[in-house]
Each structure stands twice: as structure tokens, then as C-alpha cells.
């Protein structure tokens, strides 16, 4: 379980902290009303019982023991009575402790579960721009560190703070009841302890920051050097990187030991202060009793001393828990921010369905006919069916990932049904962007994208995306078997269909060479497969989905040219009769496209087939003959 190192709590606005806290409370109280009430009752009872038990010490001594000393026939009835009462008090206390802890398990784990699942649900609904602008590590830590600190706060922090505060109040009350004069001495001293703690805490925070900085440097160096360890070997660079590491490592040791010393001496200082308070009260009390200034019994003094001991513990606990609570609230803040993110807009009414033709009429059906239609709702509640052909039009489309930088400017283009359209151009020219807009990974700023004449914004997102198969530039796989990974494209695909798709993508050959074939389990993002093999799987995944329109984004960039020509055959089969958008790095893969669009800075500068473009002797010609690097 990841743990965030203890340190000074992160800065957060007071108002925000309060609202996060209240919201969290709502999560808990909202679902676990009864448990919550019982837990609070238990905490109160625990504190009360503890105070009563300690208070009984006075009765024990003053009433149970002292009066009988020297008696010829001592009467122990009162002693037994008091002991029985103590037993009852502590028995109830133990029971309450258990009940509280037991209930809190369900409350805590249940709440954390709810929060986690809510986060995932929201995360899945967020637009891609969210994932572009937020580091994966930051999103991850919402699920790990942040929920973990929340869990600790709910299960330990909150009950402990509540019970500590209660204990302090109850104990203080009892102390004042026993002797307000001695209580004054205690208050004065406690104020001093709190002040000293604050002073030391501030000091240690400074060292802590220095330590974290060193940790960052050392970790950074380790990551860089071990990540490039093979290069280090090739260049005989071992000794030098060792020497550089020593310097950083020693610096970390110096800062870490300073921070550690401060953290370590805090506890003994607090402990000895509490020891000091303990005997100081004893001495002062004794002096007052002996001098006859204070008319209190020995039993009262002893009980009072025991209270003093009971008091210092919860005070240290509160001070320890406070930083934990603040940290957890900061984590809660991040968690709630994720839950509060705005999901991607999806208000299209048009759906895309499979259809069959009967008597010249299109009818919705479930079987895989290979024909699709847009189901357009009409005002009277009925639907029009418009057959999906696969024509795509961009009309004066302007788009930028953020407001400052426009990637596509007034772009217009079209793809006729069944055509293969290729985009070429430098990195950043906007090739991938165009395909991202068709399936509405991002929404355009101006203009219109039409899918068979229908604005893509009027089409339900899930329908739209189901109709567009996509093979992405970076292929990532899921933990699971190869079969499951291919089946991701169509959850209802039979084993035969999965294998047929793999054959189509020419992945069948390498899969059968794996030890467990299609049941080989992929872990760690398919690390044991080569990039090329992963791409083949991703092509198979698209094949099994069998969509009317296909987008291939650098789908073959990691496959060598010879293998590619083999894959190409399969891909050609896959592309038959479909509208296909191809983005390619290597010009050899796009040569047979119906239309090649050369993009530069978000604008189409040349359009035509391979032969036309070569004949133009323009930019494409230069690219093809190698005067530019495509990068």
C-alpha cells in the first residue's frame, strides 16, 4: 500500500477544507446513519468509562482502603463494591471499543469502495482532453495515495480525534471537580507544551523540505541512469555514474539524517515533559497537603495524578492526527475534484443500428448483415432509417486542443464511401487530430463534420464510435489472454471469429507459436510481445469489430517492411468495401490510396493519388524522394 511520507501538511484553503470535510461526512452519514450514531455513542461511552474508572481510584483509596487501616476487623465490603464498579466501567469500555472498531470497518471500507467506484465511473465518462492535461501519475494517486489517506482518516483519524477531544474534556472536567487549584497548574503547563511542540514542528518542517528535495534528486538520477543502463554499459560509463551518484546519495543522507533527528527527538521531549508534569503535580500537591494549604485527601491527589497521565496521551494523539487529517482532506479534495469533473458532451439523438432490407425497406435487426443505418428520430416518435454508406465531409473545420493554439484551420475535405484516404505530413501537421475529430474524441471549435450528411454532434457517441474501427499509433493491451484482447473489439465474437480476425491480420502465425496460443496471458501491457506483434493484435481487434468505417493511425509503423507487405494483404481484405482513413509514416504504405492528402500546419496543401502527386513535383514529390525527413 503506498504511503505518503509524513511531513508538514499541504497548504489548503480553510473554506475548501471545511466543504471537503462536510462532503465526506455526508458520504458517511448518508449511507451509514445508524452505524454512525452507534459509533459516536460508543466513543462517548468509552471516554466516560475511562474517566469514571480513574475517578473510582479515589473512592478505592479514600473509602475502600484508608478507613480500614488499623481496624481490628477490617470491612472490605466497600473495597469489593468499588472494584466491581471499576470492573463494570472497564468492561463496558472494552465492549464499546470493539463495537466501535467493528462498525467502523464497514463504514470505512464501504465509503472507500463507493468513492473508488464513483471515481472510476466518472473517469470513464471524461473527455480525452482531461487525460491530455492531467498527468497519469496524478490521476493514479487519486486511487492510491489519496483514498488511502482518506481511509486512514475515516477509520483512525476521525474516531481518535473525537475520542481524544472528548477524553480531554471529560478528564479536565473531572480534574477541576477534584481540585481546581491543581488544574490551573496543569493548564499553564499544557499551554507551554503546545507552544514548544509548535516551535519544534516548524523547525522540523524546514529540514523535511530539504530532505524531500534530495529524495527527488536521487530518485530522478536513479531513474535516468537505470533506465539507460544499457547505454551506460556500451559506453563504459559505470565508474562515472557511480561517482555522480555518490555525491547525490551523500547529500540525501545528510539532509535525511537532519530531518530524522528532529522527528526522533520530538517524542522523548514530549514524553519527558509529561513525566515532569506528573511529578511536578505530585510535589506541588504534596507540599500543599502537608502545609495544610489545600484541604484534599491522598485519594484525590492520586486520582488527580492518574488523570494527568490520562491527559497527556490524547493531547499527543490529537497533534499527531491533525496533520493526518489535513493531509487526508487535501487528498479528499483531489478525489472530489475528479468526481466533479464535467463529462464529455453526448446529446446526439441519432443512433446507428444494423439493418436488413425487406421489400425495399430498411428494417432494424440484430444479426450481422454487414449493413448499417442511421436511425433518425422524427417529431412524431417514429424513426427514419438512412443507410450508412461511409461518406465523411469536413466543412471549414477549425480546431485546437487549447484556445491558444489552432491545429486545424478552416479545413475542408471529403471521403467518398469505400474510399481509402491517406494523410501524410510532418508530426504536428494535424493528421491524428483529423481522425480524433471524426469519432469525437474532441469536439471542433468551428465548422461541421458530416457523416453521410448527418452532423456527428447529432449522433449518439456510443453509436458513432461503434461504427468506426480504430487502430491506434501506440498499442496498449489489457491484462488477460490474447483471445480476450482480440475479443475486446466485439464481446460476442465466437472463438472462430476471433481466430478468423487474427488470421486476417496475420497475427495467427505468431500466436500459435506462443506456448499457450490464444490462451497466452498478457501481463504488464504485453511486455513479452514485440511492438509489431502488439500492433498485429490491435489490427485483429479492429477486424473482429467489423465496423463500416476504419481508421488506421500509424497502424504499421513498428512492423518491418517485409512483414508489413504481408499484413498489408490482410489489411486490404479488411479494408474492402469500407471507408478507410490511413495515417502513415512510411509513404510505401499509402501509395495505393485513392486519395492522399498532404497536410502542413493544419492545412491540406496537396491532394491526389500517388501518381498525380508525383507528377506535380511538389512537396509530396520531395518527401517521396527523400529530401525531407518525415518526423
Amino acid at each position: 500500500m503506498p504511503r505518503r511520507p509524513m511531513g508538514p501538511p499541504p497548504k489548503m484553503e480553510k473554506g475548501r477544507m471545511k466543504s471537503v470535510f462536510l462532503r465526506l461526512l455526508k458520504y458517511i452519514v448518508g449511507v451509514y446513519k445508524i452505524q454512525f450514531v452507534v459509533v459516536v455513542l460508543c466513543i462517548i461511552l468509552t471516554a466516560a468509562c475511562s474517566a469514571i474508572g480513574t475517578g473510582l481510584l479515589q473512592n478505592l483509596i479514600d473509602e475502600g482502603i484508608m478507613p480500614q487501616i488499623g481496624a481490628a476487623h477490617p470491612d472490605f465490603t466497600r473495597l469489593y463494591q468499588v472494584c466491581a464498579m471499576m470492573g463494570a466501567a472497564y468492561g463496558v469500555m472494552a465492549l464499546c471499543q470493539w463495537v466501535q472498531a467493528r462498525l467502523m470497518i464497514n463504514v470505512t471500507q464501504g465509503t472507500i469502495y463507493t468513492i473508488r467506484t464513483e471515481m472510476m465511473k466518472k473517469m470513464q465518462s471524461l473527455p480525452l482532453s482531461y487525460f491530455d492535461t492531467n498527468a497519469h501519475g496524478d490521476i493514479m494517486s487519486c486511487y492510491t495515495n489519496d483514498t488511502d489517506t482518506l481511509r486512514q482518516m475515516i477509520s483512525q483519524g476521525l474516531p481518535q480525534v473525537t475520542s481524544s477531544v472528548l477524553t480531554i474534556v471529560v478528564v479536565f472536567g473531572s480534574m477541576i471537580r477534584l481540585s481546581w487549584q491543581l488544574s490551573l497548574v496543569v493548564i499553564a503547563f499544557l499551554l507551554f507544551i503546545v507552544y514548544a511542540g509548535k516551535f519544534l514542528g516548524g523547525k522540523s518542517a524546514r529540514y523535511y523540505v530539504a530532505q524531500q528535495k534530495s529524495v527527488g534528486k536521487v530518485n530522478g538520477y536513479i531513474e535516468e541512469m537505470l533506465g539507460g543502463q544499457k547505454v551506460v554499459k556500451v559506453f563504459n560509463h559505470e565508474e562515472q555514474s557511480k561517482a555522480e551518484f555518490e555525491v547525490l546519495n551523500d547529500e540525501l543522507r545528510d539532509n535525511a539524517s537532519k530531518a530524522g533527528i528532529f522527528a526522533n527527538i520530538l517524542m522523548p521531549i514530549m514524553a519527558q515533559m509529561s513525566n515532569f508534569l506528573y511529578f511536578f503535580i505530585a510535589v506541588v500537591g504534596a507540599a500543599l497537603i502537608i502545609k495544610g494549604i489545600l484541604p484534599i485527601s491522598l485519594g484525590v491527589l492520586i486520582a488527580f495524578l492518574q488523570y494527568t497521565k490520562n491527559l497527556t496521551n490524547p493531547i499527543t494523539q490529537v497533534s499527531q492526527q491533525i496533520s493526518g487529517v489535513v493531509m487526508a482532506l487535501a487528498g479528499g479534495d483531489r478525489v472530489f475534484r475528479l468526481i466533479d469533473e464535467t463529462p464529455e458532451v453526448d446529446d446526439g439523438k441519432v443512433t446507428i443500428v444494423r439493418v436488413k432490407e425487406e421489400n425495399g425497406q430498411l428494417l432494424e435487426c440484430v444479426e450481422r448483415t454487414g449493413r448499417w443505418a442511421f436511425k433518425v428520430p422524427k417529431e412524431d416518435g417514429t424513426f427514419d432509417f438512412v443507410e450508412l454508406k461511409g461518406r465523411v465531409d469536413f466543412k471549414d473545420v477549425t480546431f485546437g486542443y487549447n484556445k491558444e493554439k489552432v491545429v486545424l484551420k478552416d479545413l475542408s475535405l471529403y471521403a467518398k464511401p469505400g474510399q481509402k484516404i491517406a494523410f501524410v505530413g510532418h508530426t504536428g501537421a494535424g493528421k491524428t487530430t483529423i481522425t480524433n475529430l471524426i469519432n469525437r474524441f474532441y469536439d471542433i471549435n468551428e465548422g461541421q463534420i458530416l457523416y453521410d450528411g448527418i452532423d456527428v454532434r447529432d449522433i449518439q457517441k456510443s453509436s458513432l464510435r461503434h461504427s468506426l474501427g480504430i487502430v491506434l499509433q501506440d498499442t496498449h493491451l489489457f491484462t488477460g489472454t490474447i483471445k480476450e484482447n482480440i475479443r475486446y473489439g466485439n464481446l460476442n465474437a465466437t472463438d472462430e471469429e476471433v481466430i478468423a480476425a487474427a488470421k486476417l491480420a496475420n497475427a495467427h502465425h505468431f500466436i500459435t507459436h506462443l506456448e499457450d496460443g490464444y490462451d497466452t496471458v498478457i501481463t504488464g501491457d504485453g511486455g513479452m510481445l514485440s511492438q509489431g506483434q502488439r500492433q498485429l493484435l490491435s489490427i485483429a481487434r479492429a477486424a473482429v469489430a467489423n465496423p463500416p468505417v476504419l481508421i488506421l493511425d500509424e497502424a504499421t509503423s513498428s512492423i518491418d517492411t517485409r512483414t508489413e507487405s504481408i499484413v498489408q494483404e490482410g489489411m486490404d481484405k479488411l479494408m474492402e468495401g469500407r471507408t478507410v482513413f490511413v495515417i502513415a509514416h512510411r509513404l510505401s504504405t499509402v501509395r495505393n490510396s485513392k486519395a492522399i492528402l498532404l497536410l502542413e500546419n493544419g492545412v491540406v496543401v496537396e491532394r491526389g493519388d500517388h501518381r498525380d502527386l508525383l507528377a506535380q513535383h511538389g512537396k509530396y514529390y520531395q518527401l517521396y524522394t527523400g529530401a525531407f525527413e518525415l518526423d
Binding site: A94, I222, G227, G260, A287, L472, D525, D631
Partner: protein, 578 residues
């Protein structure tokens, strides 16, 4: 294993010993103060002896001061010892990894090595500190409190003798059972993290296939399982607290009952009783602390194992005895070489390779994905050792050559190459630490990197970010080639190192090689046939075997695979433009 780790305490041994020693002082004071308190009550208050009270007060003050001193000293030494141990461990690990061969690195993977040097060392540092401080403190406290109880009143002290084994039993039961559930819980935790990570990486795929609901459902299942395991673990973990309360206060009540009788009978004094209460609480706190630390230590054992694994890892490639430091020339000979990656399925990825390359030759290597091109060339600088047969450089078996000398003379640009944070100059000096500016410039000219470097505002002093993310792929490749050239090697190997460089520049680099370093043996692995077409010799690899060796003309005429590749790359736009 623990012994192995402790061997790295080194110069901090003194601190490691001093910390518990001072701890003894602190604990003693913690126990003596309540003891004196008994006297203060018995002899001072009850007898009304004011001077005695003051005397005791002064003694306790002295003890508090001693306790304070010992406590801070113990804490200080513990901090120095634990951070020192962590430093020595990191140092040893880092040095160990530097000796690793490629095979060793593959076995652990970089990311796992990084975790071992960071997270694992950190966890050891924390538990080590816990052990030398608290694991010393708690039992000491218990023993001291027990002894003092017996000194005060043996009959009451013996109540502890019954209570402590019961408490220990409870603790043992809890730790043993919780451990099982915690293990399950941590595993499920890993699943959960993995699931989130996968979803973040695959978010485009998830959205493209509209699988959001399925992913949510999958995640919910994992989260639910995690919740269930956590509940089971915690149900056990919460038991000690109420049980301890029952036992400790049971002891206090029994003490009160018996003690009451003793006091009334004049066999014991009242102050002793209250001090015994304090001891009872101290014993309970110590036991709780011990159980907490034990749980932590058990958890950090996994880290210790992972660290020792690295420290114990034997380097698979080492210098032989009396290695030869002199490398005559850049000739290379493969003699019946077979190779299999260890730890894999032990399948030979290279089979019976025989190949002769003369010094100064330019050799192109072609082959499909998985034809083991990279593996073949990595055998030359002994990044891996052959499984069978032998590789000769300059006429000597590479296993008899000095590793440093060999790798200085065989310069290799890896397929997955890295630049390091620093400047262009500092990266270049990896090739030659003492290179002059002219030498660097010259190498960059050969690699055609000078054009774009001159375009940078700071020229050769331009910053390179970690992983070279601030230069383009083509620029990075050319910088890596320049860096390799600075070694002035006898053999230069380019493993698909110009894939992101345009064809024209690629050709210019090759012609620069031919003119400027004619005596260096050059091995070029490439996807693009134009990159190897004019080599003296082209080797065609297919599934780990040599499918053909010869010049372009010879191969085009007689090698099916070569012809296929050539045609697939060179076919014009005439057959399929319609």
C-alpha cells in the same frame, strides 16, 4: 538475509549500538520516576515530611533531565544509523547494478531495479529505525516494569506473570492470522492499481470501442474484492485493543483487591499500589507497540528480500583471468554461433551462424522483425555471451578480451538509445571524456548533427532533457551516432539508428563514414534497403539463420527474401495508383 543487510551498516555501526544503549537510560528513567513516586506518597505525603517531598522532587527532576538527554541522544543516533544504512544500501545497490550484464538487467527490468533502489530501501530504513528504537524500548520497558513490580510487591508482580503470556498469545494470534489476509489484500491492491493504470493507458481504446461500462464493471469487481479482503484483515486487527483493555484493567482490579488487603494488613504501602497501576499501563503499551512493529517488520521483509536479490545477483559477464587488453584490428568472425536468451523458453534465436567480416568493411544486416539482427550484433561487444560457438574480434575470442577495452573499441548505437539530461556537449563526452570542442564538432559533422545544433541558440551548450525529449527522433539518432563516433572505435555498429532520418541525410552520413573513417569496420542494421544497398557485404537474416550473404547485385539475383524486401520497398506508383 537480515545479516546480509546489516553487513552494510559499515561506519554507522557505532550509532546503531549507541541508540539502544541510550534507550536503556531513557526507559530506566521512565520506570524509576513512578517508583520514586511510591516513596513520595508513602514517606512524604502520608508522613507529612515536607523535606522528603522536596528531596524526591529534585531527584525526579534529575531523572527527567537524564531521560531527556538519553532520549534525544538515542533518537539522534537512530536517525544517523538508519539514514546511514539507507545510504550504504543505495550505494551498494547502485554499484552492483553497474556491474550487471544485459542479461542481468533483462532479468530484473529497469523499473523493478528503480523500485528496489528507492521504495524498498526506504522501507528498510524505516523498519530498521523502528527496530533499533522501539523494538528495544518496548521489551526493555516491559522487563524493567516487571522487575520493579516485583521489587515493590512480589505477590502483586506475579499477577503480571500470568497476564503477559496471555497478552503475548493474543498478539501472536492476531499477527499470524492478519498476515494471511494482508497478503491477499496487497495482491488485490496491486490488481486495482494495475486496472487503473491500464485504463489510463488504454483510454483511447476504451472509448473507441465504447467499453466504458465494461471497464467500470471490471473495476467495481476488483474494488469489491479489495474491500472484502480489507474487512477480513481489519476484523482481526481490531481485536487486540479491547482484549488488552480487559486484561490490563483486570490486572489493575486484581491488584486493587489484593493490594487493598495487604495495605489494610500493613504489609504494603499505598504508594506502591498506584505505582503498580502505572506499570500495568506501561506493560500494555509496550506489548501493543511490539505487535505494531512486528507487523511492520514482516511487511518490510519483502523489501529486504528484493534488495538482497540484487546484491546477490551474480554478474553473468565478467573479465576472464589475465584478459587481453590489445585489440589488433576491426575484423570480426562468428564461428558456429548459437544463442538463446536465458530465462526465456531457451529456444535458440540464433542458430549456427558462421560469418567473416574483414577489418574496415561495411556490412549491412537485413531481416524481418524477430530475425535476431540486434541479438547478432550485441554478441560482438559481449553484451551477451554466446550459448555455443565463439565470436572473434581482431582474431581473439571476445571472452578473452578485456571488457572495457573491447567496448571502447566496439562502439554501438543501440536501437533504443538514450540521451541523458545535461547539455549536448556533456552527452558527447560520454564517448570521450576528454574530447576537445573540435573533436566534438567533427563527430557531429560526420553524423550530420552539426546543421541543427548550429541552429540552436546555445549551440553545443543546448540543454538536453531527460530521455532527450526536447529533440526530434531524427535529431536524437544523429546525436547518438556522433556520441558513438567520439570513441574513435575500430568497430562501429548502428542498430537501426537512422530510421527517423530522411533518406538524403542517411546517404550523406554513410558517405561521410566511407570517406572519413575508412578503416573502421561498420555494421549497419536497417529496415530501409537503401541504407545498406551499397555496403561491401549484406547479410540477410531469417528467423535466426543466415539466409544469404553477398553484395546487392548478388543477392538481388539469387536471394528470394532479399528480392521480396527490395521489391516491396522500391515498387513505384504505377501498379496500384488506380
Amino acid at each position: 538475509m537480515v545479516k546480509k543487510l546489516m553487513g552494510h551498516i559499515g561506519e554507522y555501526k557505532k550509532n546503531m549500538i549507541l541508540s539502544p544503549v541510550f534507550m536503556i537510560g531513557e526507559v530506566a528513567m521512565d520506570v524509576f520516576i513512578p517508583y520514586l513516586m511510591a516513596f513520595l506518597i508513602n514517606n512524604g505525603i502520608q508522613k507529612g515530611d515536607y523535606d522528603y517531598v522536596i528531596k524526591m522532587g529534585v531527584m525526579m527532576l534529575v531523572m527527567v533531565l537524564i531521560g531527556l538527554f538519553c532520549g534525544t541522544m538515542s533518537g539522534t543516533h537512530a536517525a544517523i544509523a538508519s539514514t546511514g544504512l539507507a545510504r550504504n544500501l543505495r550505494r551498494a545497490l547502485f554499484a552492483r547494478v553497474q556491474t550487471f550484464s544485459f542479461e542481468n538487467i533483462d532479468k530484473f527490468s529497469s523499473s523493478s531495479l528503480i523500485t528496489r533502489l528507492t521504495t524498498d530501501v526506504n522501507s528498510i530504513q524505516n523498519s530498521f529505525q523502528m527496530v533499533i528504537r522501539s523494538l528495544v524500548r518496548a521489551p526493555l520497558m516491559m522487563i524493567f516494569a516487571l522487575v520493579m513490580s516485583f521489587v515493590l510487591e512480589p505477590r502483586l508482580g506475579s499477577v503480571f506473570l500470568i497476564a503477559i503470556p496471555i497478552m503475548a498469545l493474543v498478539m501472536f494470534f492476531v499477527i499470524k492470522n492478519a498476515h494471511v489476509y494482508f497478503k491477499k489484500m496487497f495482491k488485490e491492491y496491486d490488481h486495482l492499481n494495475n486496472d487503473v493504470q491500464e485504463n489510463l493507458l488504454n483510454i483511447r481504446t476504451v472509448k473507441a470501442y465504447v467499453r466504458e461500462d465494461r471497464e467500470i464493471e471490471k473495476f467495481n469487481k476488483v474494488a469489491e474484492k479489495l474491500m472484502d479482503f480489507s474487512k477480513s484483515a481489519e476484523k482481526i486487527v481490531i481485536l487486540p485493543m479491547p482484549l488488552m483493555t480487559v486484561i490490563v484493567f483486570g490486572v489493575i482490579i486484581i491488584d486493587s483487591l489484593l493490594g487493598g488487603h495487604f495495605i489494610v494488613n500493613g504489609e504494603m504501602e499505598i504508594g506502591n499500589l498506584t505505582t503498580l497501576f502505572t506499570y500495568a499501563l506501561q506493560v500494555m503499551m509496550s506489548l501493543i507497540m511490539i505487535s505494531m512493529i512486528l507487523v511492520m517488520v514482516v511487511m518490510s521483509m519483502a523489501s529486504a528480500e528484493r534488495i538482497v536479490e540484487v546484491l546477490d545477483e551474480k554478474t553473468t559477464i565478467e573479465n576472464c583471468e589475465n584478459p587481453i587488453k590489445e585489440i589488433k584490428d576491426g575484423s570480426i568472425r562468428f564461428e558456429d554461433v548459437s544463442f538463446a536468451y536465458k530465462g526465456g523458453d531457451d529456444k535458440d534465436v540464433l542458430e549456427h551462424i558462421n560469418l567473416e567480416i574483414a577489418s574496415g568493411e561495411t556490412v549491412g544486416i537485413l531481416g524481418g522483425t524477430g530475425s535476431s539482427k540486434s541479438t547478432l550484433v550485441q554478441l560482438i561487444p559481449r553484451l551477451y555471451d554466446v550459448s555455443h560457438g565463439a565470436v572473434y574480434v581482431g582474431g581473439v575470442d571476445v571472452r578473452e578480451l578485456d571488457l572495457t577495452a573491447l567496448r571502447d573499441q566496439v562502439s554501438m548505437v543501440l536501437q533504443k538509445n538514450e540521451l541523458f539530461s545535461g547539455t549536448i556537449n556533456s552527452n558527447m563526452r560520454w564517448g570521450d571524456a576528454n574530447a576537445t570542442e573540435e573533436e566534438i564538432r567533427h563527430a557531429c559533422e560526420l553524423a550530420r548533427a552539426d546543421e541543427f545544433i548550429d541552429g540552436f541558440e546555445l549551440g553545443y551548450e543546448s540543454k538536453i532533457e531527460q530521455g532527450g525529449t526536447n529533440v526530434s527522433g531524427g535529431q536524437k539518432q544523429r546525436l547518438c551516432i556522433a556520441r558513438a563516433l567520439l570513441k574513435k572505435p575500430k568497430i562501429l555498429i548502428l542498430d537501426d539508428s537512422t530510421s527517423a532520418v530522411d533518406m538524403k541525410t542517411d546517404a550523406m552520413i554513410r558517405s561521410a563514414f566511407a570517406n572519413e573513417i575508412p578503416n573502421t569496420t561498420k555494421l549497419i542494421i536497417a529496415q530501409r534497403i537503401s541504407s545498406v544497398q551499397d555496403a561491401d557485404k549484406i547479410v540477410v537474416l531469417d528467423e535466426g539463420k543466415i539466409a544469404g550473404v553477398g553484395t546487392h547485385e548478388e543477392l538481388y539475383a539469387g536471394n528470394k527474401i532479399y528480392k521480396e524486401v527490395y521489391d516491396s520497398q522500391m515498387k513505384g506508383g504505377d501498379d496500384d495508383a488506380a
